[in-house]
């Protein structure tokens, strides 16, 4: 009996449930409304309709391409004859990841815009009924619910004036639409990777984040990471390609986030097939990397290391096993170092940094560090010091070490000193590497390392080759010292690079650090602690490599200019300085280039005149004498609107200067 009733009950429930599953899904998880932009329609004038969708918190609706799963929104219009409804214009979508899948959609309120074009022959005052049946899918993390809604509204034919109630709604909707991209975009599909290339000058605002939402399916793998990198004037966005890339144009929305702006901006792009940037296959890149590595051995940075190691091998006599071990561990050292460099650079690339080979040379303190290391190796070659004590295992590697650890260390050293050098073929191979996936790029780096290590490996493994090396003798010591000079010149080149990056002060700072190292090396021979301390100072001084600060905008001093500005009633600040005057430079650095002081200069519209006494200048000498001085520095302030000249103290602080400039200080 109970079974019967349960059965009937179940049947009834299934029947009801069946009935509810008919066309009408209802809209429980999304609030949807349909509005017209105008309070009326003008004949022949297209007008906008907004479908405003507000998903429940934690739920989302979908873009025109929903991604791995999901369904986009559909609108079926019921319009009188002659009315045409356009395609839905979607706002810039967002990523909605779900486990290993990726969808594109909206988790917050959004409006879909549709333009409807009325016929030109409409009688004024006619009431136009507009109907729409909307179907969409709304999902949260757990479930999906298809929903629908029906709308009908009526608009009269009149002037088509805007409806004040919806001004903000439509303004927001239009602002959220992606705009046409102002720069050319092309794409390349190669080796399972899809890369978009934008002609965006390097000087343009810094793009911090980017994501490409294609319109069509099969262009990319939706859940794949998209890597941003820069190559000169081009911005590259690279990701795994999808399976069905039909040729022709690739369209979609590119969402960019620019430094300094909290919101993304979507751009509608239409990318044509571009020229393959690196028209180089993987094998060719490997070949180039290998050649480049070989040639690196001839570069002044690496050659000393290589030749000394080779000669030490010759000197050590015939122990085959040791020789082979040396070769293998040297190679291992080189490969490990290149692997580490690759890992760091690829890690940075994965984190979104735009980089290429030479990235390490774009950071001044890395260049400075390399300069110091190479300088130190030069000192060692000169014979100024040998590694001793604790370092005897790692040190002594250039001439005496035959063990495994010294060989490994030499390999690492060879790789390190090779980094500032580039050889022919290397640049193209590495350029290719940076557009590829991590394993491919790593292979190319390791091949480069292998090319670098090969000559020594061969010498170590093949005894007959060693026979070709010159017989050891006293000349080896002179040769070793001779090899110090390529190192010194390399260090000099790197210091010049720092000079370009951080100005003269930066370059001198590094030279000073080199001086400290030489000092440390000499002192360390007798007093280890002093040596270590000086060494630390040398490296610590590198932290002072800062951005050169902007000098205040000034004109060159002349007595006439002072008179002219004073006659106009401007405030004038005159200062005399010289490159060899340390007090002057310190004052300028601390006080005059200070941000707050600069702000006061600008706010008060103060004219700045600078007299440079680095070289002889009679006029400046006379002006100094006029104020009772015979040397620099001298700081004079003539206040606005006439008034007595005020002479500032010899030692400046920002507060002193601001006080005098604003008339509030002493």
């Amino acid at each position: 009996m109970i079974r019967l009733w349960t059965g009937i009950l179940l049947a009834l429930i299934m029947f009801w449930a069946g009935a509810a599953r008919a066309q009408d899904f209802g809209a429980t998880h999304t609030k949807v409304t349909l509005q017209a932009e105008g309070i009326s329609i003008a004949p022949g004038k297209p007008f906008l309709m907004a479908l405003h969708m507000v998903p429940e918190a934690g739920w989302h609706t979908y873009w025109q391409n929903p991604g791995d799963s999901g369904l986009s929104t559909h609108i079926e219009w019921t319009l009188p004859d002659g009315f045409k409804a356009g395609e839905i214009r979607y706002p810039t979508p967002h990523k909605v990841p779900f486990g290993p899948l990726m969808n594109y959609g909206y988790g917050t309120a959004n409006s879909l815009l549709v333009e409807i074009t009325p016929p030109a022959d409409l009688a004024q005052g006619t009431v136009i009924p507009i109907g729409a049946t909307v179907n969409w899918l709304v999902c949260d993390d757990e479930i999906c619910v298809p929903e629908d809604a029906r709308f009908s509204l009526e608009l009269a034919v009149a002037s088509g004036a805007a409806n004040g109630d919806y001004t903000i709604l439509f303004a927001d909707a239009k602002e959220a639409l992606p705009i046409a991209a102002p720069w050319p975009v092309s794409y390349v599909r190669e080796g399972g990777r899809f890369t978009l290339s934008l002609d965006l000058p390097a000087g343009a605002a810094l793009v911090k984040e980017a994501w490409f939402y294609p319109h069509a399916d099969g262009v990319i793998l939706y859940a794949a990471k998209q890597t941003l990198s820069r190559e000169g004037d081009r911005l590259l966005l690279s990701m795994d390609a999808g399976e069905n890339l039909q040729g022709g144009l690739v369209t979609g929305v590119l969402s960019l986030k620019v430094d300094g702006s909290p919101h993304e901006q979507g751009f509608l792009i239409s990318a044509g097939k571009g020229v393959v940037v690196q028209d180089m296959g993987f094998l060719l890149a490997l070949g180039f990397a290998f050649l480049g590595g070989l040639i690196l051995n001839l570069m002044p940075c690496v050659f000393p290391v290589l030749s000394l190691k080779a000669l030490s091998l010759a000197k050590s006599g015939g122990d085959e096993r040791h020789a082979r071990q040396s070769g293998i561990y040297y190679t291992l050292g080189v490969l490990l170092s290149f692997g580490a460099i690759a890992a760091v650079l690829l890690g940075l690339r994965a984190a979104g940094a735009e980089l290429g080979w030479g990235y390490q040379l774009q950071t001044p303190w890395v260049v400075a560090l390399l300069a110091l290391v190479i300088f130190t190796v030069g000192l060692n070659l000169m014979g100024l010091f040998e590694f001793g004590g604790r370092f005897v295992g790692i040190g002594d590697h250039l001439t005496h070490g035959q063990g495994r650890l010294p060989a490994l260390a030499t390999g690492v050293l060879a790789a390190v000193v090779a980094t500032p050098c580039t050889a022919p073929f290397m640049a193209t191979a590495l350029g290719y590497a940076f557009t590829q996936s991590a394993p491919v790029a790593a292979m190319i780096f390791l091949t480069l390392g292998f090319g670098l290590a090969l000559p020594f490996l061969l010498i170590a493994m093949v005894p007959s080759l060693r026979g070709w090396l010159p017989r050891p003798g006293a000349w080896m010591e002179s040769f070793r010292q001779f090899l110090a000079f390529p190192m010194f010149f390399t260090a000099l080149w790197l210091i010049w690079v720092v000079g370009i990056q951080r100005g003269l002060n930066g370059a001198v700072l590094v030279m000073g650090a080199c001086g400290l190292i030489a000092f440390a090396v000499w002192a360390g021979r007798k007093w280890r602690i002093v040596g270590a301390g000086l060494l630390l100072m040398a490296f610590y001084s590198l932290t002072y490599l800062e951005e050169p600060q902007a000098a205040p905008e000034y004109e060159d001093f002349s007595v006439e200019k002072v008179a002219e500005f004073r006659a106009k009633g401007d405030g004038v600040f005159v200062y005399f300085t010289a490159s060899w005057c340390i007090t002057c430079k310190v004052n300028e650095h601390i006080a005059l280039e200070n941000d707050r002081v600069q702000a006061v200069f600008q706010d008060q519209d103060i004219r700045i005149l600078r007299g440079d006494w680095t070289n002889r200048d009679g006029r400046i000498t006379r002006e100094l004498a006029r104020h009772g001085r015979s040397g620099v520095p001298l700081y004079i302030f003539y206040p606005k609107g006439g008034g007595d000249a005020m002479i500032l103290p010899q030692i400046l602080t920002p507060d002193i200067v601001i006080g005098i400039l604003t008339g509030e200080g002493k």
Partner: protein, 200 residues
């Protein structure tokens, strides 16, 4: 030292493993072996020589219900299994997620709905789903007797959740199996699947 080298190479490779590789049509279909709703171990290799249809399903997903409420899926299953084709329904929902069921629950759903799969495979860890890059429910695959993947994609060409649409849609699976029976190549062998996401 050598360990560090191999470790670093491994690390570098994991930096960019593609999300997952979708098996290619015309290539060997990934092998699998898992428990079905009756507690038996079922492997793809068990069906060598027979055509196999894989159907990713989630009984609570509205798109799956579209095909079951309209009896579309059941009749397709009966027609195909009647011809000696093997039909495997695979549930890759993770425990606690929508669609995850125990063996008994799966069996009672099969009975209630009158569906006719050869077996219902419980893939709670999502291994088979990931091997096939199954993204939606439903997501269909057809494998021939030699183990080659012949079709992957949607069940039909009308992505919607309306049961009424099954009557007007072109059912890719039916068309593909008919082509196979006639000894012809499958014209549309890779289509875009639609449905709820598989709840890994």
């Amino acid at each position: 030292m050598k360990h560090i080298l191999s470790l670093s190479i491994v690390v570098l490779f994991t930096l960019n493993i593609p999300v997952w590789a979708s098996p290619e049509v015309g290539a060997a279909a990934p092998a699998f072996s898992a428990m079905d709703s009756h507690g038996n171990i079922v492997s793809l290799g068990d069906y060598a020589g027979k055509t196999v249809v894989l159907e990713w399903t989630n009984h609570q997903c509205p798109f799956v219900r579209k095909h079951y409420d309209s009896d579309n899926m059941q009749s397709l299953q009966k027609d195909t299994t009647g011809k000696g084709i093997v039909w495997l329904s695979i549930i890759s929902s993770a425990p606690g997620k929508q669609g995850h069921v125990s063996g008994e629950e799966a069996n009672s759903i099969v009975e209630k709905r009158g569906s006719a799969p050869s077996a219902v495979i419980l893939d709670g860890q999502g291994d088979i789903g990931r091997a096939y890059a199954a993204k939606t429910t439903p997501h269909m695959y057809i494998i021939n007797g030699e183990g080659t993947l012949l079709y992957k994609g949607a069940i039909d060409d009308t992505p919607s959740a309306r049961p009424a649409d099954v009557k007007i849609a072109k059912n890719y699976v039916r068309v593909a199996l008919a082509s196979l029976a006639a000894g012809e190549d499958i014209a549309e062998n890779s289509t875009r699947p639609y449905g709820c996401s598989v709840k890994y």
